[in-house]
Amino acid sequence: MLYSLAADAKPRIYSSGENTKPMGDREADRILVERVQAGDKQAFGLLVAKYQRKLARLISRMVRDSAEVEDIVQDSFIRAYRALPGFRNDSAFYTWLYRIGVNTAKNWLMTHGRRASATTGVDSEEAESYDEADLLRDTDTPERLLMTKQIGQTVNAAMEALPEDLRTAIVLREIDGLSYEEIAQVMDCPIGTVRSRIFRARDAISAKLRPLLDAAPDKRW
């Protein structure tokens, strides 16, 4: 089931002062990057957890084998970490990271004497507007495919079991991409309630996912 609820969402308007304005996604990345640049390695782990799947989907357009895709993703993050002192936050972190990912994949293909698969013409800007769900080649191993399927099923089942207000809040956030303020307008409730509902929804889904993830072959961070 694909959820979408926000057909008549109002535009984002901040009525409160600048000091209480939420940081935004790019600003959150900027803060994490600055933490890493100040020597906080754990902050880099948060960026890895956030962008690893996006980067893997990008690289899987160039490299077919899923195990190789994972190696290139890992290598890309390590290169990004080494290059991070030179990153000045002039561009978005993920645009910069995607460029490193594409270059790492190209180098890997050259080293292994291979040509990129048909959809190689990837740059970071294109990658962001690219509809991955339609065009992405499915290169996963059977184990990975099974894991993906089980995670999807578990999340869907957990969503069905959620109270209506929690389900609406997380759908508006994750699928429609609304801000908390917009969700508050749509659901006619305070922003603090939105924040609480989204957290409770995630917590409930997470509780259903944990047994599955703990049994996964990849060690959890």
Partner: protein, 167 residues
């Protein structure tokens, strides 16, 4: 704290809350798992592929052997000071050069101009030294004077000038 991590995932955390949240993530494995779960749930709800991929632990393990990156802090608040200081230094330099070049009466020593009595005494002293014997000596030894170097030339010019005044 868990509510705040969820808000950070959405970029909806307020700036003053970030330190506490990152501190919790640094020391608490459960908080890190929550961060990872939140992103996984979002990807699953958007029906993205590759949900089974999780290289975070591998990357962080590999980074344990890497030296910690340290970047110089970018200057933000006082950025206007640098160009202002450079401009002021340039203006000061130009002013000094202009004063030295264009100021009237720079050829005469201001010290001598202000104290004419002392200046006369100097001239008188020099005149008394420029006796005919000394002049002969200087002319005879002019060939030995270092003519190529600026210092030697300047010495001779001063001597001739003094001799002229003496006549």
């Amino acid at each position: 704290m868990k509510t705040r991590i969820s808000a950070l995932v959405d970029g909806e955390l307020e700036s003053h809350e970030i330190d506490e949240v990152l501190g919790a993530v640094r020391h608490n494995q459960e908080m890190r798992s929550q961060w990872c779960d939140c992103h996984l749930i979002g990807a699953a709800l958007r029906r993205e592929r590759g949900l089974g991929i999780d290289v975070t632990a591998r990357v962080m393990s590999a980074l344990e052997t890497e030296p910690t990156v340290l970047a110089p802090k970018p200057r933000r608040a006082n950025d206007w000071r640098r160009p202002a200081l450079a401009l002021a230094a340039s203006a000061a330099g130009v002013s000094v050069v202009a004063w030295l070049t264009l100021s009237p009466g720079r050829e005469a020593s201001p010290l001598l101009a202000a104290t004419p009595a002392t200046g006369q005494r100097v001239v008188a002293t020099v005149q008394s030294q420029s006796s005919p014997r000394l002049q002969e000596y200087l002319v005879a030894h002019q060939a030995y004077a270092p003519s190529g170097a600026m210092v030697g030339g300047a010495r001779n010019i001063r001597t001739v000038s003094v001799s002229g005044e003496g006549r």
